[in-house]
Structure formats: structure tokens, C-alpha cells
Symmetry: C2
Subunit: 355 residues, 2 copies
């Protein structure tokens, strides 16, 4: 069933050039196209909301990674939630709410053979809101779930530390670890975020890495002191979203057989002097510990199970989710993305495009 | 049964001060003591040969590790093979050949409750020579065995890379991986070592990281090029003894689900500017790979099985062992130890004290 798309214009944001350091205006190009009627097998989706993620910075770089880079001139890759507005694909009907890699654009036209490639799936708004489907029930939630459960393998009573604690992945990890009976210590930037994860999400403690350190104390020494204070029994599982000095600080406090999940390194993504490797990595040897990477796509077969479990926790109040929703359409994308890298976002960063 | 020890003098090397960078003469103190007759439960062991290991450098540092540091004024810790020359411990008879942490001294007097703590065990010279008991059948061999088999879990057909390939641990790892059906690529310093591991030990290839690089090519680029050439199917298991630039070079070539065994970081032990962390550690994420530490003592219960297996390989020719045996008594210890750090040793470094 197709509706008429005449007169609709698709505004897009494309990658114009690869950034060095923080992305700037020169890295982006704004384009617009008419929205064409779907051909046989195609469907057209109107984007309702886009997920803005630290990983986007990596996709802008040249070179081999777990996913090919966004090509110069291509619509910037982004996961999102949308509504089917025209369909000649029997698997989707007009009005269906779907998630998938829609890109930073108002309308995505999807060929039959593309649907699977962009992970197109119907979402049930009874399980969670549009923004929750980009957060706990979306990629960040899946990343947190499988990173913690499959790679971290926490046991009740163990101490789990998570950085980027108020972010999308961090809030999932911390709350899930609490559900599983762990002591949970977050690391986040700013008093408000720390208070929220402790008071609202039930973390046992949160270290504010941006807190003014006492006179004569270095900031990272204060983080180390916080870890010592809040992890009196050491650290069994560390879920790392940030890398850099915080990873080193936690490495210095890990227990025997600790598991470190490498999910991201947001502190390093915009470095113009190269990545900073973990100087304390020999703590892995001393403690017979391991550091292991996670890429969420590997667990796609099990997303439905994780979604069902966490939707249950959202319903019964054992988990909450917080999204930082920015309005302003695709034009607001470049500036909004920067919020991730200066830590301005509070909760999962979402760009809302339509109701 | 006790023999008379009168007139015997025990020459010892003690840690005088903690080194900064490479150990120098100021870090050592030479002492001598009479050899006392054993009291009830004690035994006296004459050291035949000592194992000189990169790990010794770590034991000289202050601070928490997998084993307490050697105290200032204490006899330097060292594993060795000795002969029981006096015994009032019913578990050991005069003439027994034993291995254990004897220290850098000519005679070790061991109390009953100390025997277990220093890992004292009889060795069977039919299974291997004194120096082989410090090499493939000793701690380095056990480290290589359990690091490779338990942490690395190589499968036939996979590519295993090992640094310090001609060293004690490296030669064990590479040969064992060949026995298990893997493609094995070593990294070693110098043509002679590389030729030896390929021609004598049967490695598939060896990269000489000290080879003069072609005009205009950086040394580490040459190592990266060598890895590309000799690991056309990527790296599945990397056994790291060296850290630094070589660890980074291998990280850039690992496969999905690769296992990196962190056994040591000899390139960093004498750094006066701090450890260099692996800048490419995000390759763990991209490749869903893990990096895990090994401490051999955890496997003590299974040493006999590993020794039996590898003694079999030595007998049937599937494994060889090479020791770099230095004579000169305990006085030669400080200078001999430095051979490890400039890569002068060729094979397991052994200091021979007596026949």
C-alpha cells in the first residue's frame, strides 16, 4: 500500500570530509531531495528520532573497523526509529513503527534487500516509548546487556564499575548489574549525573571525575581515591566506555580474574595526538584478568530476549531510562553530536525529527 | 642424614637498593656466610644452576604485584636447581636433585615449613638435563604451556605469533603450538635467533625486529610489514613477552576473537618514563578479542602433567631446548642479568654455579 509522497522533501546530512579532532561545520554537507514513491519491494520510512552515539565519531574515520566507514558524500549513518509512510514491501505496512539504520535524514527509502542490512525491525510501543527504543531497548541497551552479561559475567556480590554511567550504555549496565545483585559504582562527569545514577537508578556510589579536586590533588588522583573508597573489595567487572586516564585508574584497582569490557573510548576519539593506551595494562597479568571487546551486532539473534527482559524491568520499575532529547531537525545534528564529546548530554542523546 | 658442612662458605647476592631503569652495581650487595648444619626438619641445598628471568626486574620494584617484592637486604630471589647436601627433612635425601626458589646464593638452607613455599620438588634428570629443568621443564616451560593452552586455546590451523621467540618461554610456546597444528610466527632480535627458531625449532617464519630496515622505512613499520607477510590469514593467538611497539604491531593484525596472552613486557621493564600502554588496544573491540594475563603459579597442580607431556616431546624430538649457560658463580649474576634486557642471551639464560 502506497500513499502519495508528492511534495515531500527529504533533508539530509552527509559526510563532506573526514574530521581531524572534533567534527566541525566543514565536515558536513546539507542536502535535500524529493521523496520518491517506492518501487516494487521498497518502503519509505519517516524518521521520528535518531540515536546519537559516540561510535559515530569512529564511523567518520577512514580505515578498517567492525563496520565500514561512512563514505564521503554519503548520508551520515545513524540508527533511528521511524514510521512507515509508504510500502510496497509485504513485510511492512504503512503506520508500522520500525527501528533500523535510517541515517541522518528525514525519510529513508529502503529496498527489499536493504531491509535486513539496516536491521529493520518493527518495534512495539507498548514495551517502551520511541526514545526508550533508542536507549535501553535499542542498541545502547543491547550493548550494555550483552557486554555486561556475556563478556563481564558478573556474579551476585561482585563489584561492577561503569564509566559514562549516566550515558545510554552506562545507565543500562549499572541498573542491570544492580538487578543481578552486584555492588555498582559509576563514574560520570558532574554532580547532577552522579546524583541521578545514585538517587534515581540505585547505583551504590558514583565518582564525579569532573569534581574540583581538593587543593594540591590532581583530578585523576581524586578518581583513584574515589575508586579506593567506593570499591573497598576491589573491582571485579569494569565496563569501559571512556578509555584514557579512567581506564588506567580502574586497572589499578582490579581483582584477581577481573573482567574489563572494552565498549568504547570516548575520551580518545577526538584526540589529534593518537590514542592513549592503558599504561597499567600489566595489571591484567598481575591479576590474571582479561580485557575484551564487544560489538553488539554479534548478539543480534538474542536481541528479542534481552529486550523482553529489560522491558520487564522498565515495567516493574527495576530499571529507568533517561533520554536527552534535542529538537531542531537534521539541521541540529552537527551541534548536537558535539554534546557527547564535551559530556553535555545527560542521558541517551536523541535527536527528534518528528512526532 | 647430615653430612659435615664445615668450612663451606655461602656466597650470596642481595638486593641493596631498588633500581631506576636498568639495574647497576649499586643495586647489589655481595655477602658471604658460613653454611650451618641443618636443624631438625631442615635441609641444605647446593645450587647447581640458577634461572635468570625477565620477571626478576619486576621483583626488584616496590609495590603490589603477583608476588611480594624482594626486600632490601634480602638474597635476590631466583629459581634454581640444586643438590641436597644435608638433610634432616625426611622428604629429601642427600643427593636428591631438586628445583625451587633457591635464591642467588651457593647454598640454600630450607626449613620444613619453607619447602612448600619455595616450591621445592625433586627433579628427575632422566626426563631432562639440569638446564632443561630450568627451561622447557621449568617455570618458563610451564608459563608457556599454560599461557598458550589455557589462556590462548589455540586450534589446529590457527596462526600463533610469539615474541621473545628464542627466549625460554618463546621457544616453548612456538614449538608447542607447532605440535598442536598451528602456523607459528616468531618475533626475535637478530638473524641468528630467527634462523634458529625457523631451522631448528620448525617455526614457519620469524620476524627479526632488529633487522636494518630498508632505506626510508621505520623499524616498526618493517615489523608490521613482516606480520602482514607472514600472517596472511591474520593472527589468532599472540603470546606477548615484550609489550611496547611490538604489541601494538600485532594488535593491528589480529583476527576476530583473537586471544592475546600477556606474559611480560620486557621492552618496558627498565623504562624510566613509565610504561607504554598499547595504543592499538581498541583493536580488541573491533575484533571482539581479548587480552588476558597469566601467572604460572596458578597452575602448580598441573605442572606434573605438562612436564610429562613436554618431556615426551623432548624425547621424541618434537621439541628442542636451548639454554644460554653462563659460568662465573654468583659474582657474575649482576652482569649476566643484563643480557636479558639487551637481548644478548640466546635461549634460556642460566647461571651455572656448580656441576
Amino acid at each position: 500500500m502506497a500513499t502519495t509522497l508528492a511534495n515531500l522533501v527529504n533533508h539530509q546530512v552527509r559526510l563532506a570530509a573526514r574530521p581531524v579532532g572534533l567534527p566541525t561545520a566543514e565536515n558536513w554537507q546539507f542536502t535535500q531531495e524529493p521523496v520518491a514513491e517506492p518501487a516494487e519491494g521498497e518502503l519509505v520510512i519517516q524518521t521520528l528520532a535518531l540515536s546519537l552515539d559516540p561510535a559515530m565519531r569512529g564511523w567518520m574515520n577512514e580505515g578498517k573497523s567492525y563496520i565500514p566507514p561512512v563514505g564521503i558524500g554519503e548520508v551520515m549513518r545513524a540508527g533511528g526509529i521511524g514510521r512507515v509512510v509508504a510500502s510496497r514491501n509485504p513485510a511492512f505496512a504503512v503506520g508500522d513503527i520500525v527501528s533500523g539504520t535510517l541515517g541522518v535524514q528525514e525519510y529513508a527509502r529502503v529496498a527489499a534487500d536493504q531491509a535486513k542490512r539496516i536491521g529493520l525491525a518493527k518495534v512495539d510501543l507498548r514495551a517502551g516509548s520511541v526514545t526508550q527504543w533508542l536507549n535501553v531497548l535499542g542498541m545502547p541497551g543491547m550493548t550494555g546487556y550483552f557486554g555486561l552479561m556475556d563478556v563481564g559475567q558478573p556474579k551476585a556480590g561482585e563489584t561492577v564499575v561503569v564509566s559514562g554511567a549516566a550515558g545510554a550504555v552506562g545507565q543500562t549496565v549499572g541498573q542491570l548489574a544492580k538487578v543481578k545483585g552486584c555492588r555498582v559504582v559509576g563514574i560520570a562527569g558532574g554532580r547532577a549525573k552522579c546524583d541521578w545514577v545514585v538517587q534515581e537508578l540505585g547505583f551504590d556510589a558514583c565518582i564525579d571525575y569532573k569534581a574540583p579536586a581538593p587543593e594540591g590533588v590532581q583530578r585523576w588522583d581524586a578518581v583513584r581515591e574515589g575508586l579506593k573508597q567506593h570499591c573497598p573489595a576491589g573491582v571485579d567487572v569494569y565496563f569501559d566506555n571512556v578509555g584514557g586516564e579512567i581506564l588506567d585508574a580502574v586497572l589499578a584497582r582490579i581483582n584477581r580474574k577481573a573482567r574489563i569490557i572494552i565498549c568504547g573510548a570516548i575520551s580518545q576519539y577526538n584526540s589529534t595526538t593518537g590514542m592513549q593506551g592503558p599504561k597499567n595494562y600489566m595489571s591484567l597479568l598481575v591479576n590474571r584478568a582479561r580485557m575484551e571487546g564487544i560489538v553488539v551486532f554479534d548478539y543480534a539473534d538474542r536481541y528479542p530476549l534481552a529486550i523482553a527482559e529489560m522491558a520487564g524491568y522498565l515495567k516493574d520499575g527495576r530499571m529507568k531510562s533517561k533520554e536527552d532529547v534535542v529538537e531542531g531537525g537534521v539541521a541540529a545534528f552537527p551541534q548536537t553530536l558535539l554534546k557527547l564529546f564535551n559530556g553535555e548530554n545527560f542521558g541517551k542523546l536523541v535527536l527528534k525529527l518528528a512526532d
